[in-house]
Every structure is written in structure tokens, then in C-alpha cells.
Subunit: 427 residues, 2 copies
């Protein structure tokens, strides 16, 4: 948390340097906003990344994304390895084995391995993207923009050098597949990637990995179908596109929403129904310990399964022949409630500071910042300064996870007395 804040502050200073911007420079608040957005891998922008910043400025943003995304993932894995009480011995051994760790102490070696692993994926992505962008822009800018978008994609940052994000490549199969492939990988979370790498047989994967893989698939396919049908006749989005381009754009918007934040359609032109669906997806988010935020896909799955178990009057919450501990169920609901409260309070404050902006756009922006998604209906730059600060705080909280903050605010009060049970009527 402290490291995060320091990174953002240094980023702000660097982006404020005359060296960083093409012409007159940007305001402190915009520099602060851009640094926060990059470090929290959100992708909301108050100024246009590609035209406002010099190569130096863009490189600062790239570094912030890398530190924010990878740093956080590394931290998450380290925390699990070293402190982690929430990991089973089997999984810990698996993780150690996969990383060639014989003792828990090898934190630096682990960090280096994760770093190398990420860089390799990012370089691989760059090469694939370069097959499209080098022919179009030449070697220099082609390679540079490929690297930028590759880093931005794997870290789920959603920053683009084009002011219309990837709308210019809405029908390009390579850009669609490489970008989405990278951010979906990044959104699964390192523990899942490591599990799959060392255990390629699906049945033997941990419950967490199985849930993430199946959940990602199911949610993405459902979102794809819904967006496809909802937007099919919308002349402002995919209505006039060819069938295959309708498919590409629906697919891209469906998978980008839970955390990536690139777009190949103008979100502001989409149907209200699609936008509402996207808000839910942004709230759910990606995987635990990944470059994505939100309440996390597994949290949503555990809640749904718990409610079904409750309705079926089962005494245990079971899933894929495994029992989910009551504590994890309670934790999931706690995360969701704290998340809802965070989103509500932020949206409430924004309706006060931005009385001129439409409610739907404000709500969308709020969910986007909470999930560190970065999609916008186009109002980020129009926010007042207090509004920008509110969104910045939300991106920060969203990245930390609201439950982290809630825990740090709560004082531990172990039960001393046991009280008699008494019922309360609910619902």
C-alpha cells in the first residue's frame, strides 16, 4: 500500500516534467490522475495518452503499469507463499515446486522468476502485434507501439496510444486475439497460471484454478452472446458492420469489460442494456491476485453457490465435490457488501460534485474505477477536480481491494463472552 502510493507520487512528478509532454504540460491534478490510473492498471484517462505525452512520458506510464501490475501480482504470490494462511499445504508445495523453490525464504529469486515470466509473455505479445503494426507504421514506431500495448494488455491496464483505443482494429483478428489473449491470461491470476503450467491435467488442478478457468469461460461466452444480440441492430455500434466484424467486436467488448479496459467500440454509443450488463461485469472483475480488480470472479461464484445451497437447504456449501468453508462464504459476502458500499458512496459523491453529468455515465465511470477497468462513456476528462480526486481514490481502493482497507480500519475484537442465541426475522 505504501509502495503503491510512493510509485504514484514519483510517477506524478515524472509526468509533470516538461520532458514528459509534447507542448505546454498538464496540470498537477491530471499528472496525478494519469499516474494513479497507470499504477492501479485502470486506464481511465483525463488527457489523451498518445497525443499529449512524449516518448519519455509514455515510457513512464509503461513503467508505472509494469510496476503496478507485476509488482502487485508478485506481492500477492509472495504473501501467499510466505504469510499465506489461506493456501493449503498441497498448493504451497505445488507453488514451490513450480517455481523451483525449495524453501519458503527465496523471495527474491521468486520475484525474479515471476518478472522474467511476465517479460517473456510481454515480448512474445509484442512480436505478434508487430506483425500488424510494423508493416503499418515502420520498424521504430511499430515495435514501440507493439511493446506499449503488449505491456498494457498483459497487465490489464487498458492504456492505448490511440485516442480511440483499439477501435481502428475492431476487425483485425491478430490484434483481437493477441490483446484479448494476453489480458485474459493476466486476469486469471498467477496462481492459476503456475498451477496450469505444472499440472496440465484439468482434473488435477486446484479447485480455485478450475473455478477460474470454467468461470472465465462461462462468463465470457454469456457476455459475448448478450452483447451480440443487444447491439445487433444498433446503427451506432455494430449494426452496420459485417457479420464477422459484429462477432469480433461483441467478443472484444465482452471480454474486455471485467478488467482490461481496451475497447473497439465507442462505449457511449452502446445500448443502455449493454452498458448495465457491463457495469455488473466490471463489479465482478477478474481473478484473485491477478492484474484485475473488482470483487473477483471466485467471490461471485462462491456467493451464487452459497445461495443455491441455502435454497436447497443443504447444511454445507459444496462445489465440484469440495466443501467451501463457512468462513470463505462469509468472506465473499463481506467483500461484496463492502464493494457495494464503496461503489455507492463514490457514486453518491460524484452525483454531488458532477450535477451536470448524466447519471448513467457517472455510474459507469464509478464501476469502471472500482474494477480498475478503464472503460468510459467519455466523461473522464469532463470531471471537476474534486470528481477526479474521488475517481482516483476509488481506483486506488479498487486495486487494493476494498476489503483490505476495511480490515485495516477494523480493530480485532475477539469474542470474550458467549451470548445466548436469539432469532431475528429477515426478508
Amino acid at each position: 500500500m505504501g509502495g503503491f502510493a510512493i510509485t504514484i507520487l514519483i510517477g506524478t512528478l515524472l509526468l509533470k516534467l516538461p520532458l514528459a509532454t509534447e507542448t505546454e504540460g498538464i496540470s498537477w491534478i491530471d499528472a496525478f490522475f494519469m499516474a494513479t490510473s497507470a499504477t492501479t492498471v485502470t486506464g481511465l484517462v483525463t488527457v489523451d495518452t498518445g497525443t499529449v505525452f512524449t516518448v519519455f512520458g509514455e515510457t513512464v506510464i509503461m513503467m508505472l503499469i509494469q510496476i503496478g501490475g507485476l509488482g502487485f501480482m508478485t506481492f500477492a504470490v509472495l504473501a501467499i507463499l510466505i504469510l499465506g494462511k489461506r493456501i493449503s499445504l498441497k498448493e504451497r508445495l505445488l507453488l514451490q515446486e513450480a517455481l523451483n523453490q525449495t524453501a519458503v525464504g527465496g523471495g527474491i529469486r521468486l520475484t525474479i522468476r515471476l518478472f522474467v515470466f511476465s517479460i517473456m509473455i510481454e515480448l512474445f505479445g509484442m512480436i505478434l502485434l508487430a506483425t500488424v503494426w510494423v508493416p503499418e507504421y515502420g520498424w521504430k514506431f511499430g515495435l514501440y507501439t507493439s511493446l506499449f500495448h503488449s505491456i498494457s494488455a498483459f497487465n490489464n491496464a487498458g492504456f492505448s496510444l490511440w485516442s480511440d483505443s483499439l477501435m481502428g482494429y475492431a476487425g483485425d483478428p491478430v490484434v483481437n486475439l493477441v490483446i484479448t489473449g494476453m489480458f485474459i491470461l493476466g486476469g486469471l491470476g498467477f496462481t492459476v497460471l503456475i498451477d496450469v503450467k505444472s499440472q496440465p491435467i484439468f482434473k488435477k488442478l486446484s479447485l480455485h484454478s478450475k473455478l477460474m478457468i470454467i468461470g472465465t469461460l462461462v462468463v465470457n461466452v454469456m457476455a459475448f452472446l448478450m452483447i451480440f444480440f443487444l447491439e445487433y441492430g444498433n446503427p451506432d455500434t455494430i449494426g452496420s458492420l459485417s457479420f464477422i466484424d459484429k462477432m469480433w467486436t461483441s467478443y472484444f467488448q465482452a471480454v474486455t469489460t471485467r478488467t482490461a479496459g481496451f475497447n473497439t467500440l465507442n462505449i457511449g454509443d452502446m445500448e443502455t442494456s449493454s452498458v448495465l450488463l457491463m457495469m455488473v461485469l466490471m463489479f465482478i472483475g477478474a481473478g484473485s491476485g491477478s492484474t484485475g480488480s473488482g470483487i473477483k470472479l471466485t467471490t461471485a461464484i462462491v456467493m451464487v453457490v452459497a445461495v443455491i445451497s441455502y435454497l436447497q437447504k443443504r447444511s454445507e456449501v459444496t462445489l465440484m465435490n469440495r466443501t467451501i468453508k463457512r468462513d470463505i462464504v462469509l468472506r465473499s459476502f463481506a467483500i461484496a457488501l463492502v464493494g457495494v458500499a464503496t461503489v455507492f458512496v463514490t457514486l453518491f459523491l460524484l452525483t454531488v460534485t458532477e450535477p451536470e453529468l448524466p447519471f448513467l455515465q457517472l455510474a459507469f465511470e464509478t464501476f469502471s474505477a472500482f474494477g480498475t477497468v478503464g472503460l468510459s462513456m467519455g466523461i473522464t476528462g469532463e470531471l471537476s477536480d474534486p470528481g477526479k480526486v474521488i475517481v482516483m481514490i476509488l481506483m486506488f481502493l479498487g486495486r487494493l481491494g476494498p476489503i483490505t482497507l476495511a480490515f485495516s480500519l477494523a480493530t480485532t475484537k475477539p469474542d470474550k463472552v458467549r451470548y445466548a442465541k436469539e432469532d431475528v426475522y429477515t426478508g
Copy 2:
């Protein structure tokens, strides 16, 4: 549930009679909508009650409100008395004592007692209201309108004979106090009223009654303060009113929102921030087994307390020196999640059927129907026929409680096998 549906159908037929309407009659869908709104004690209207219906039609609406409100409360109390597994022996004895019941079997006698109790409160309310409306409108219409609003208030129906609801009496102390007093009483739920009647010492009340009384007080005071400050400078609502009228109208809007549905301000003119706050209040709703709906105040309290306990790493959820069972905690979260899902699906469908209507207005209407509140930003009459049907279904589900439907859809599957526990990372 069946009784509800039959009441609505008979009400529809009666409201469709030429006898029921002043001039040309109303469409089937509007008759159906009005009957549903009255029976579910919601108060959303697609036609103006006072000008469209004859005294016969208005009497039908009054009867539907009485059957819908009281019938449901009676049913709830009966269910608790006869079947109730969720009530402690102490409370059951208390309830029986209060109602002079010596055996559990005396259902008919109990129903009559509850009915007499309600009618007495309603007549008392009518007399108080008559002190304002008889001088203004003469004996005949004065008494009649007092009876109508008294029944509508105690049953939390929110139907008014004036097309601007109670806006004409925004600063009238008697109307403000009597109407709000009655719907707050009705919203506490019969079990609480009976408990207080037989046990006037606060400390000796059941946990449920204590929570309802303190919760109602705290939420109402907070809502009052927030609306007062948010609307203070709004020239379209209370900005130009005197200080005392600012207080009355803020108070009225604060307490009406959780379920009553009368209004003394034009909701469509309120600040977006107030409207957002009101949506949350409508979702929370009133007391279990009351004339109000929503997820219920105690459900919300249990969730908040459970999350705080979790953050404090307590092993038990405790509250006022009592332990809340894990099952009730899980039930509360289940109700809230099913509630959120119900609201989301409905709002989603409305954005599809009503593309022309603003999102904020649709969201407000959805929360209003879910909580059977009846407040509107003014779009109920503009809904398309499919939109009206969707809102009707939501009012019906809201009144039943979404968890009731969820239970009826779920098949009981008691655990047969015990599975090994495995962790999932969440949040």
C-alpha cells in the same frame, strides 16, 4: 400466493367495469396494473386514481389495499404462530398471550383480532385526518378522503386521491404526523406492535423488536438529515420554502421512502444524490411481516453486523448481547443477493423495452416496484405495455419477497456425501 393472484384478478375485473371509471373506462392493462399495485400495496399508478375512478372504483382500490396489506400481515403472523420454526418458544408464548390465544389452533380468532386491531387504528387515523379535511371539503368528501388516506397509509399503499399525492399538504403538521405515524407503525410489522403492546419496557422486548425500533429511528434520522442538506439549496424542491416547511418536507420524504410511497415533493425535481439515496432506502424497505417490502431492515442490519464481526475476526456474529445464528446470517445475504439479482434483471429488461426513458428514472421505478414503495420520478404512465407488465411482476415478487419465489423454485437436496474442504481465494 394463490390468494394474492386471485385478489388481483377479481380487482382487475371490477376496475374494468364501466361503473368503476368516470368516463370512457381504462385499458385492460391499466386495470390489471392498478389492481396489482393496490393489492401489493405499492402505489405506482398508470392512471390518476382520484380523477379516473368513481367512488366505486376507489372503494375497490381501498378494499384491495386492505386485503393486500392486512391479509398479508395476518398470513405472516399466522404462519409464524402455526408453522413458525423461526420463532422462539418465548416469543410464541408472548404472541399467544398478547392475542389472548391459549392454543395454537385459534387461527380464525386471531385473524379477527388482527383485523379489528387494524380497523381501529385506521378509524383513529381517519378521525385525526378529518380534522383537516372535513373543514376543507365538507363532511361527505372530507370523511371519505380521510378514510381512504388512512387505509392507504396504515397499509403502506401510498395511493392518494390527489394527483400530486400529498404535495398540497407539504407543510400541514397534522397530515404530516398522522400519515407518517400510521405508515411507520404499519411498517414495523405486527409482531413488533404486539410485542410492544404486551411488554412496554424496552429492555424486555425481543431482539427483533429492539432492532426494528432502533433501526427505524436511526435510518429515518439519517435519511432526514441527508435529504435536508442535499435539497436545502434546490430551488425546484425545498429551496424556496420556509425553514419549518423545509424540515417537514425533508422529514416526510425521508420516512416515506422505505415503503410508504406518499410524497409531498415532486420526486422528479430532487437532486440525483437524493434520488440515489432513496433507491437504497427503497431496497432496504421496512419490517418483516409488515405492510412494507424490500429486503427488510433487519436483513440489512444483520448483514452489516456480520461484516463488522468478520472484519473484527470474531467467531460469532453478536448484537446487543445476543448471538445471531450462522443460518440467519446466510439467509440475510441470500435475500440480499436474490434481491439484487431481481432488481438487476428487471432493470435490464426495462432498458430493453423502454429505450426512450432516462436510465435514472427507470432505475428509480425498478427499486420502487421491488420495495412496493410507489414513489416515481413520473414515468409510470409512459411505460410501454411490456414495461407495465414487467413492473407488475416486480411488484408481485417484491411483495412476496424474492426469497419466497427462490425457495419455491429450488428443489431440496440434502447433502448425502461429505466432501473434503478446499479453499478458494476471494477478493
